[in-house]
Amino acid sequence: MVRCISSIKASLLVLVLFLLSIHAGAQERENTFQFGIGSVHQQDTYLSPLNYKGWQLSVFWMTERQSGFVCQVEGHFSRTMPVSTTLAKPVAYGGGFSFDAGWEHHWRPVEGLRVTLGALGGLYAGVLYNERNSNNPANARFNIRFSATVGVRYDFHVGKTPLRLDYKADMPVIGVLFSPQYGQSYYDISQNGVGGCILPMWFGTGFNLRQQLAIDIPLKNFSLRVAYVNDIRQQSANDIKWHDWGHSAMIGFVRRFTLIKNR
C-alpha cells in the first residue's frame, strides 16, 4: 500500500512537471561567469597628457535565454603608471562597471553554426584616479547607451571532444555621456550642477567596442571557458580625451540549464 502511494506521488510529480513544461514552456538558459587579468593602456587628458600602462583585473557575468533576452555585467579595476617617465612613477587607479540588457536574434544557417544579431541598452560608470594631482585628482566616466551586438558561435569536434568557439562583439552606437568641461573642476560641478557636461554619445565622441573570442570545453556539468577579451573604451568630448585600451585573458565557466516556470 505504501509502495503504491509512493508510485502515485512519483507519477503525479512527473505529470505536474510535464504539464508545467508544456504550459509554462521550458526555458533554456545559459549563464556565464568569467574573471581575468590583462594589460591596459590609458590616457586621460583631464588628469595628465601622458600615456599610462599597467594591469587590470576584470570580471564578467552574462545570462542568455532561449527567448533571446540577454543581460551582462562587467567590472574592472586597473593600476597603471606612465609609459615615458623615468624619474618618478605616479600611480593611477581606475575602475568601473557596465550593465547591459537586451534581445538577440539567432540564425542557424548551417549545422553547428549560430549567428547572432541584437541590441542592448545599458550604462557604464567608472573613474580614474591619479594619486599625484591636486584639484583634479580623478575623472569620472559615465554613459547610458544603446549598443549593437553581433556574435558567431561554432560547434565542432576535436576527436570525440565537442568544443565550441564563440565570438561576440558589443559596440555602443548612440547614447548620452558625461564629461566635465575642459577646465572645469568637480568642485564647480558639485556647486553648479552638470550643465554642459551631458552630451550626446555617438561614433564622433569615441569608438567603443568590447569583443571576445572564447572556446568552451565541456566538463561534467558545465563548460570551461577560456577567452581573450579586447575592450576599447574611449571618449572625446569637451576637448577632453580619454581612452582605456585593454587586452585580457579570461577564464570561467558556462552553465546551460532548463528552467520550468509557472505562468
Binding site: A88, P90, G183, D188, N192, I232, Q234, H243
Partner: protein, 347 residues
C-alpha cells in the same frame, strides 16, 4: 570573398581612425620644455590677465625658453630652466615639482613687509588659549572711551586661523562663538594663512552670514584658447543652522594670505559688518590643477579664476578696507599694533 575583405578592411579602418588619443611629447630635454610650455598655454587661466597686468606674453616666453640650448643642460639645470619659465607668470599657484626641488615664485609674499610677528601674536594668545579644530582663540580685554568720554572695560574675541588645510567644522565654530557671547566683536587674524581647502574657507565664512549671500563669481576654461572661458558663475554661501556671528568683525590680513585665505577675504568683504584691516592679500585667485611632464615632474597651475562681487579678478590680491602696518618698534615691546587697531575699531 571580395565583399567580405572590403567589409573587414572598412571595419579595421574605422577602428584605426577612431582611436582617441592625444599627442605625447618625447621624454627629451626639448620635449619636456615643449610639453611644459604647452600645458600652460592650453590650461593656465590667467594668460590674458598676466599679459595685461605684467606684460608677460607667453608666446614671447616660448622664444626665450624653448630652444636648442636646453639639450646641453643636465637635469638640475633643466629643472631650474623650466622653473624660471614658470616664474615669469609670478603666480604662487604655478609650481614645478621634482623629487629634488619645488620650482616657485613667491614674490607675492617675499617682496613685501611681513606685517606679522609670530612671537608677538603668541603673546596675545598666551599659553591658556583654546583650540577648536584648527582655530586658536581667546578673549582679549580692552579699555576704550565711550561716547561720553568715560573709559569702559569690555572684551573682544580673538581668533587665529593659520591655515585652511585642516578641518574646522561647524561644531567648533559654534563653540567659539558661544565662548565669545559677551564680546563686542571678533578679531579674525588670518595673517600668514597660505590657504588650503575651500570647504573650510566656506564653512568659516558661513558662520558670519545672516542670510544666503553672494560672495563672488568663478569661471573655468572651456577650451584651449587663452580667452575660452565659461560665463561667470555666482558663488553663494548659505548660513548654517546654528550659531551665526552678526556683531562687528575685523579680519587682519597681510601678504601671506594666499589662495583659500584670499578667497576667505573676498567672501568676508561682501558682508556689511566686516572690516578688513592690514595689508593687501597675496592673491592666488585661481584654483590650481595639476599635470605632468614626460620626465615625471609634476606641474601645478591656476585653472579656474575667481572674482569678487564686483567681477574683479583676485589673482593679484585684495585691498583691505583699512591699510595698517605692523609697527616694528612696538612689536619689539610685545605690542601688535594691528591687533590694537582692530580692538579699537570694534564699537
Amino acid at each position: 570573398m571580395k565583399k567580405v575583405l572590403t567589409i573587414l578592411l572598412c571595419g579595421m579602418l574605422l577602428v584605426l581612425t577612431s582611436c582617441v588619443s592625444e599627442e605625447v611629447f618625447e621624454n627629451t630635454r626639448t620635449g619636456n620644455v615643449e610639453a611644459l610650455w604647452k600645458i600652460i598655454d592650453e590650461h593656465y587661466c590667467f594668460l590674458p590677465y598676466k599679459k595685461q597686468t605684467l606684460g608677460v606674453d607667453w608666446n614671447e616666453v616660448r622664444g626665450r625658453y624653448v630652444n636648442y640650448e636646453v639639450e646641453r643642460m643636465d637635469r638640475y639645470e633643466l629643472f631650474d630652466h623650466c622653473a624660471a619659465m614658470l616664474a615669469e607668470l609670478k603666480d604662487g599657484h604655478v609650481n614645478l615639482y621634482s623629487a629634488a626641488d619645488i620650482g616657485r615664485n613667491w614674490s607675492w609674499r617675499d617682496d613685501y613687509p611681513k606685517n606679522l610677528d609670530v612671537e608677538v601674536r603668541e603673546k596675545y594668545l598666551g599659553t591658556d588659549y583654546k583650540i577648536a579644530g584648527s582655530l586658536k582663540y581667546r578673549i582679549l580685554e580692552r579699555e576704550r572711551p565711550d561716547d561720553n568720554g568715560d573709559v569702559v572695560k569690555d572684551s573682544v574675541g580673538y581668533v587665529v586661523c593659520e591655515s585652511f588645510s585642516s578641518g574646522i567644522g561647524d561644531a567648533s565654530i559654534n563653540e567659539i562663538f558661544y565662548h565669545f557671547i559677551d564680546c563686542k566683536g571678533v578679531i579674525l587674524d588670518i595673517r600668514g594663512n597660505g590657504g588650503g581647502d575651500l570647504d573650510n574657507c566656506e564653512c568659516l565664512t558661513s558662520h558670519f552670514l545672516a542670510q544666503r549671500t553672494l560672495v563672488g563669481y568663478s569661471s573655468f576654461k572651456t577650451g584651449k584658447g587663452w580667452n575660452d572661458f565659461s560665463p561667470k558663475r555666482e558663488e553663494w554661501i548659505t548660513p548654517p543652522d546654528y550659531v551665526c556671528w552678526l556683531r562687528p568683525v575685523v579680519v587682519l590680513t597681510n601678504r601671506g594670505c594666499y589662495s583659500a585665505a584670499n578667497s576667505f577675504v573676498r567672501n568676508m568683504k561682501a558682508l556689511p559688518h566686516v572690516i578688513t584691516l592690514g595689508d593687501k592679500t597675496g592673491g592666488g585667485g585661481g584654483m590650481p590643477f595639476s599635470s605632468e611632464l614626460p620626465c615625471g615632474w609634476s606641474v601645478r597651475f591656476s585653472a579656474c579664476p575667481e572674482y569678487d562681487i564686483f567681477g574683479r579678478v583676485t589673482e593679484h590680491g585684495i585691498e583691505p578696507d583699512i591699510y595698517c602696518s605692523l609697527d616694528e618698534e612696538k612689536a619689539k615691546e610685545g605690542e601688535d599694533s594691528m591687533i590694537e587697531t582692530a580692538k579699537m575699531l570694534i564699537k
